[in-house]
């Protein structure tokens, strides 16, 4: 059970001696692991089941909705204010814009920090690292006042304010810089000798090689922005500008929706489905991205 990397090979050797205890331990371990893995899915399964129930039925411990109804879904799709389509669109556009901006700004800066030599580079990189340690809550008041001063807290400009705050994360730069450091220098030197400029070398030679790191940054940024609550809650004050998480929070206390579990569960599912689809298709990048952000070099 508790052996690691290389030890598991040796564990097999021990088991083949005919140790029945080891076989049983293995079975018990597998049973526990499968049970725990299933436990991960139970709450989501329950939310799907509940979304097809009536309200009185939603508090019964039955896995078959009795009667089966799509009223909860109809409520979630037609009766929310702002409509769920608005929330969905807001979340999607904001997450897409911020992902693209993190990829563009992060890869340029990551490349510069990894390869280009300029005075003050180490100091500026320290600033990047420092941003990873400054809590967002400390920035709440000053950032809000700054945005307010330049008119980015009202009307449509709220979107712009949010994009400015989330346009580039220190972790995006860090991840991409680490990846560029791992690419052999010879490739870009060949391009430089052929007379390519710095941007051309970056764009034509290095960027195409950074696929895995770009994918990891894209997935992590998209997921983080899609799921994020703190900044949208503060900067998107108009209801029409809400994202899905802010909407979910508002609906918790809205009349006719509070404790009306079937439509709430339908909304929870709708808010989660895009990330779920991403996870099913790009599971590897989720795993690698999170792991890479944990290794820090």
């Amino acid at each position: 059970m508790t052996s690691t990397t290389g030890a598991s090979d040796l564990g097999v050797t021990v088991a083949t001696i005919g140790d029945r205890g080891a076989i049983w331990r293995r079975r018990i371990a597998y049973t526990l692991m499968i049970a725990y893995a299933l436990l991960m899915f139970v709450p989501f399964t329950w939310s799907v089941v509940t979304s097809f129930k009536t309200l009185p039925d939603s508090v019964r411990m039955t896995f078959i909705p009795q009667p089966f109804t799509t009223q909860g879904w109809e409520f979630a799709i037609t009766k929310l204010d702002p409509p769920i389509t608005t929330l969905f669109l807001n979340s999607a556009v904001i997450a897409a814009v911020i992902t693209i901006s993190n990829l563009a700004l992060g890869s340029l800066a990551g490349y510069a920090f990894a390869r280009l030599r300029f005075p003050g580079r180490e100091l500026l990189f320290l600033v990047v690292l420092a941003t990873l340690m400054i809590p967002d809550q400390l920035r709440l008041v000053p950032v809000y006042l700054l945005l307010n001063d330049v008119g980015l807290t009202k009307g449509f400009a709220q979107y712009i304010g949010l994009v400015v705050v989330l346009a580039i994360g220190g972790s995006s730069i860090f991840l991409l810089r680490q990846y560029f450091l791992s690419i052999p220098r010879e490739l870009e030197e060949a391009a430089r000798i052929d007379g390519a400029g710095f941007f051309t070398t970056f764009y034509r030679v290095m960027l195409p090689l950074a696929g895995p790191a770009l994918s990891a940054v894209a997935i992590l940024t998209f997921q983080g922005t899609w799921n994020g609550l703190f900044w949208p809650l503060i900067l998107l004050q108009d209801r029409a500008h809400y994202t899905l998480p802010v909407g979910l929070l508002a609906f918790r206390t809205a009349g006719g929706f509070t404790n009306n579990w079937p439509p709430i569960m339908a909304t929870v599912i709708l808010a989660t489905i895009p990330i779920l689809i991403l996870y099913l298709f790009f599971q590897r990048y989720f795993v690698e991205g999170v792991a890479a952000s944990g290794v820090k070099g």
Partner: protein, 322 residues
Amino acid sequence: MTSADVPTRIPVTRTPKPGARIGSRAEALAGYAFVAVPMVLFLVLNIGSILYALYISVWKWNLRSGPVALIGTKNYTDALSDPVFLIAIKNTLYYTVLWVPITMAIGLSLAVIVNQKIRGRTFFRAAFYFPAIASSAAITTLFIFIMQPDGFFNGARAALGLNPLFNLLGFSDSQNWIGNAGTAMNSIILLNAWTTSGTFMLFYLASLQSIPSQVYEAAAIDGASASQAFWRITFPLLRPGHYFVATVAVIGGLQLFDQALIGGGVGGDPNNALMTMVLYLYNAAFRQFDFSYAAAIGIILFVVIFSATLLQRRLFGQAPSW
């Protein structure tokens, strides 16, 4: 993080390569151009905002009125003498002290499991990380539904015949887990341990894979059992991993906000049981619109987080190699 970073890089940057224009003017200009936008944003919205927050915090400053009067440290002394803020600090520390070790222990156990050459390891890894993909808003809403008095959790433990055990621990058959001041924060700890242990698993997994297999081969030759190998080799060799995960976890824990707000509303109900430092800060800024008071709370929060990080560095000895 930074101190170890710089020395390893210097040999790379200082090695002159023939044919490369070392530190040319054009290269420096390109470098500045490439980092310009992020650096301006960071210097204004990160570094600048700390200084701005410090400045705001010594004023009486409302969103609508702007700066009214210079009041020195009054915002700080007011905060530290407000019983609700002291409860918020206590709750936040309670949450962090319990949630961090629980989630690290689960994350490490899961990492050790999926690091083995077992059948279906990709499935297990994907399953264990799965709860981390949903938003805090969605997962907390779902959790509230499951933990309500006539919810799935209470139903499941009744069906499994676990109620005598729960009664023994002092919980009623229709316990209102999040609506009861005694169990609200513990329920949030459970929720976040469940959703975050998969992330910590991935952090630990990266660390585990950096341990060379020869170490285990040597231990096996010496007749070490699997549990000895874990406690004598894996656990101590994971020290950089522990340090990183603990640091990230403590910083995250002290910023508990989303789940407290969704679970207990702006009041941190019931009876301030879910009032956290960040929730208190949010209320000061966007309920009372007392921006200078909120700025002072932000500074206090930063000091707490920074001290915790330094304390961990001290506890774990020298800075790890990353």
